[in-house]
Amino acid sequence: MLRTYLLSIPLTVAMTGLFSSVAVAALDPAYLAGAWAIDSNGSCGAQNAEYLIFNGDGSFEYNRRNKADAVGFWRIEDDLVVLDMMTSPASFQDIHAELQEFVGYQVYSMQAMPIDMQQDHFSAVASIGDQMQRFSLQRCP
């Protein structure tokens, strides 16, 4: 009896994991609202973390190393998230030294296609101009 019970525990855990990974969230403003950490730099509290903060009023902020690098507006169009944003002259100079020659504020329009939407994480393929990038996002507590 006890043996059967003990054997059932790992099975239950495995089944729970299986079903939780299948759960799919719907793309709507309520789902996106909040802070999401972007994959490459670890968890929400990491020092080098990249964040997207979707505010309920339609504005958003891209935050990197605890500084805002881009601010703008977000909206959902069909199954895409459209991000219209502006960066300051100081943005990204640490990423590309060449950008130090570049002055002025810049305006971007980016489209991101969410994939594999789970309750607390999803992946997205973002495109801007000819460039694309896939990343995953994790909801911050």
Partner: protein, 132 residues
């Protein structure tokens, strides 16, 4: 056991050894450090890459405009009445809703580029077809 003479030889050889080590160290060229840190930031790297491309494009455009202005001024100075070309200001592309055909095309590109898995491609394609 080392004699004082042996130790002396070692000490004499020491500067030469240090010199050789110094030459080796000086001759070693570490891999060129990349000034680009775009790989460290997924979202920021994408934006920075686009900005860099845009910056280079604008520099080329500015150079072309300067050349055209110079040609126009030369034409005016030496006859011919050349027209000055003024480039339209740069504007961000307008975001228009995509048609299902455009979505399918985009999906094909994503799959071809390896940005989505075959299973994701199949699911997304079916969703687009269902919406038509």
């Amino acid at each position: 056991m080392k004699t004082p003479r042996d130790q002396s030889n070692v000490l004499r050889a020491l500067p030469a050894g240090l010199l050789a080590a110094g030459i080796l160290v000086a001759g070693y060229a570490p891999p060129a450090a990349s000034h680009s840190d775009s790989a460290a930031y997924a979202f920021g790297g994408l934006l920075a890459g686009h900005l860099l491309t845009d910056m280079r494009f604008r520099q080329q455009q500015e150079a072309r405009e300067n050349q055209q202005q110079t040609q126009a001024l030369n034409a005016m100075a030496y006859g011919g009445g050349g027209q000055r070309h003024i480039a339209a200001p740069h504007a961000p592309p307008a975001a228009a809703p995509m048609t299902p055909e455009q979505k399918l095309n985009q999906l094909d590109k994503l799959a071809a580029g390896g940005y989505i898995t075959p299973a994701e491609y199949k699911a997304r394609r079916q969703a687009i077809l269902d919406s038509m």
